[in-house]
Amino acid sequence: MATFELYRRSTIGMCLTETLDEMVSSSTLSPELAIQVLVQFDKSMTEALESQVKSKVSIKGHLHTYRFCDNVWTFILQDALFKNEDSQENVGRVKIVACDSKLLSQ
């Protein structure tokens, strides 16, 4: 199954990466094993988002920058408004990074 490394930049991914870094640098863990853990994280995170998350969000805002490179869209929004079922958040500046979902199904 193909996976994105995209989610490694999320909080949970960063926490894992930091942990692995520390353990590798202290020789507790081999780099190869650390990579395997990260790859597994890619899979598990993707699966969890597909199977466990049901919420919908709408995003509105002023598009400051858009970029499409290597099948990755990057948007930088200004004064963005995020709405989901029970709350909404205003953000002065937000970056959206999105990989092509079709790449996963291939």
Partner: protein, 394 residues
């Protein structure tokens, strides 16, 4: 609610990852399950500190014992070793947890406990108090949610907080020690360099001269060479006095040592200095062992204050090269650390959405996109979504 589901999804992901890499850890002469448990512990601790997972972690999926009791009791276990034997007896009795005494003597919580059930003990306990330090939301949840945790020992809560701090400290210190152990040599070296960069180059040169002189002077003694070092340009004269027979050679080698251009010419006849020449750069670049020599030479450095004059230019260059590498490494490390901190702060403050796109369209300046399976980090909260629609004007 959103954050709550986020928390549960995160916990699920953590457990899923841990469970699915367990085979890799156990087989292949790998790190072993204890390391895996440590990984999970640190990971969860970081998540708690980041405030993206909440409260004590429910082990519903139960890679360990499914009973909630086991999840609770461990809290005491962890505290026990820290508090000392007196405290430890009480909780043990309360817990009806026979294996506990075995664990208790283990000084450090993590490395000692090998299997998953034991491991979760520290996780639970360390996680549990942590939220109190970090964010109010976690504390609230903690208070509201886990009645079982609150119940058992009223005396414990007081002790837990400091204990948990100890856990973290123990972690960090332990890790740092390991780091130091691995990179001890460079550190020491850097220290010397930073304290006396100039001197060191001279030492270096002096040492180098030693290498050049050695074939001739070794018999007479190290003191000679040290004097040479110390007196620098006068050294040549001094040597002349002591060893009239080799005067000519000595001078030649003094020049030799100072000008790299002459070295290749004279090296041929005398193998030792040539070898030194060849080996020196390699040694300094790649081997830690010689770094010790380096430092040893450095240690008497204060005596070499006078030697400031003689340091030969070409040798300074080589010295610089060698100096620069470790110094730069160190600098990089520092910068990296700072960068990490910066990034960490940025990540906490920066709003980021990570997702997959199904479709992105544009009509004039109006952009529409549909995203799915996203993680949003907005206003210090993590929110997950299954689908998202975006409408942006450019």
């Amino acid at each position: 609610m959103a954050s709550f589901t986020t928390s549960s999804v995160y916990i699920h992901v953590i457990e899923d990852v841990i469970n699915k890499v367990r085979d890799e850890f156990i087989k292949s002469g790998g790190a072993g399950e204890a390391v895996l448990n440590e990984l999970q512990g640190i990971w969860e601790m970081k998540m708690l500190q980041a405030g993206v997972i909440l409260g004590p972690i429910d082990r519903s999926s139960g890679q360990n014992q499914p009973s909630t009791v086991s999840a609770i009791t461990p809290v005491h276990d962890l505290n026990v070793p820290y508090e000392g034997t007196e405290e430890y007896e009480t909780p043990t009795a309360d817990m009806l947890f026979p294996p506990t005494p075995l664990q208790t003597p283990v000084p450090t919580p993590f490395p000692g406990s090998a299997d998953g059930s034991m491991y979760n003990i520290p996780t639970g306990s360390s996680d549990y108090p942590t939220p109190g330090n970090d964010s109010g939301s976690n504390t609230d949840v903690k208070g509201g949610r886990p009645s079982p945790h609150m119940q058992p020992p009223s005396p414990w809560p007081n002790q837990r907080t400091p204990l948990s701090v100890d856990v973290n400290v123990a972690y960090v210190e332990g890790r740092e020690e390991v780091d130091r152990a691995t990179s001890h040599q460079p550190l020491t070296q850097d220290f010397f360099m930073m304290s006396s960069g100039k001197r060191k180059r001279e030492d270096f040169a002096a040492q180098y001269q030693n290498g050049g002189y050695i074939p001739q002077q070794d018999g007479s003694g190290d003191s000679t060479s040290e004097v040479t070092k110390a007196e620098g340009s006068k050294g040549g004269n001094f040597l002349d006095r002591r060893d009239s027979a080799t005067t000519a050679k000595t001078k030649a080698f003094a020049h030799l040592a100072r000008s790299s251009t002459k070295i290749p010419q004279l090296d041929g006849p005398i193998p030792d200095p040539y070898d030194d020449m060849l080996s020196t750069p390699n040694i300094y670049n790649y081997q830690g062992v010689v770094n010790e020599d380096y430092n040893v030479v450095n240690t008497p450095a204060p005596n070499d204050l006078q030697a400031a004059t003689p340091a030969p230019v070409p040798q300074n260059d080589t010295g610089d090269d060698d100096d620069d590498e470790p110094l730069n490494e160190d600098d990089d490390d520092d910068e990296d650390d700072l960068d990490d901190v910066d990034q960490g702060e940025e990540l906490n403050t920066q709003h980021l959405v990570l997702a997959q796109f199904d479709k992105v369209t544009r009509t004039k300046s109006r952009w529409k996109c549909t995203l799915k399976d996203g993680i949003m980090h907005i206003n210090n909260k993590d929110v997950l979504f299954n689908k998202a629609t975006g409408e942006f004007d450019f």
